[in-house]
Subunit: 217 residues, 2 copies
């Protein structure tokens, strides 16, 4: 089995990147993470990746004249490493339609909410302000519109009476660390087909499981 | 224990009403359903309720000159039956701010989506068009803005590869039949406090359960 050459793009600590790297250490994993790149060459996640012996690239967005210039350099870097699939993991730069279209179908992202609810930033504070009982996270293909694109997988958790944006962020992040590796295996394994805006994964469970919050007795 | 005198408002078959009535047959239930009312005096749900020996009221919206007139008659009907809590269950008339404010904190509704996603109609077709993997239903207090108001309880289920709006509607409706009786027990039992737009139910489960779609292996 040839493993898909995969890059993870980060901007900070890269905790989702770390969970992807850890899962892809499995030699049977359909993706091989061969590059971690960041728009912030000093970020913690790059240091961690370097220590792990991974190839890293810092492409500082601040020293490029425009978003397009930054992305051209990023794109060349991905080409040098013969990248076939890109995972955004807390990558905090909006990507232009040019970049997104160049990577169409090979670019995925994780968003800390149950899309289509709470696109954009501050999702946990907004979920609490909205009073939702079920919150979660979403892995999706990236399209030019922010936080849109075919959904690959979603995960949900109960919001608790005493949750704050921080406590919710902590629990959703733990869930992201399960969901993103799972979704990467699905995508890299070739098991995800896109039909219009839906993905077909062939993995419907037999059991009709449900999730009720607050819980039934 | 005095049971809360409860009315259910319907417009059609009233399947959610039937599930509420069935659950409230339990003498320990904190609500007693003493009236089923509809804006369509010929609807199936009223026939069913009459056969069950429940008091029923048909308040035909078409014979009233205005929405306000219709609601005044409805409100008088509720008063005659000394109603303390109103459950909307497939009630297809928009209510005016006057009616909603008159029943503030004593008027709840079920919506076939995980709010704040998919307010309004055709929620299942829209959920499929959006490609969500997790869909569900929500019971919430009614406020003047449609499908807003503090959320009392939510329930989620997995969307399947071959789901159609109809197949999804069928499974979500089964879930509604669990969720609405559960939420009515919470509300009528006095266990729900509202703080700004959040409800506090004191029923956080101990276990940190999560729900992932497509399922993990």
């Amino acid at each position: 089995m040839r493993r898909l050459r995969t890059a993870v793009l980060i901007s900070g600590r890269g905790s989702n990147m770390q969970s992807l790297v850890a899962d892809a250490r499995d030699p049977a994993h359909p993706a091989e993470i061969v590059l971690v790149a960041s728009n912030d060459p000093t970020c913690e996640g790059l240091k961690w990746a370097r220590q792990e012996g991974l190839a890293v690239a810092g492409v500082d967005h601040r020293i490029h004249a425009s978003r397009e210039d930054f992305e051209r350099v990023l794109n060349i870097t991905l080409g040098i490493h013969r990248i076939e699939l890109v995972c955004l993991a807390g990558f905090m730069r909006l990507l232009t339609p040019w970049f997104v279209k160049a990577w169409a179908g090979r670019l995925i992202n994780i968003h800390p909410a149950l899309l289509p609810s709470f696109r954009g930033l501050h999702t946990h504070a907004r979920a609490l302000a909205e009073g939702v009982k079920i919150h979660g996270c979403t892995v999706h293909y990236v399209v030019p519109a922010m936080d849109e694109g075919p959904i690959i997988a979603q995960a949900a958790l109960p919001v608790r009476d005493d949750d704050t944006p921080d406590s919710l962020a902590t629990r959703v992040l733990s869930l992201e660390h399960k969901l993103y590796p799972h979704a990467l295996r699905l995508v890299a394994g070739g098991g995800v087909r896109v039909q219009e805006n839906r993905t077909i994964t062939g993995r419907d469970g037999r059991e009709q499981e449900t999730f009720i919050v607050p819980p039934l007795d």
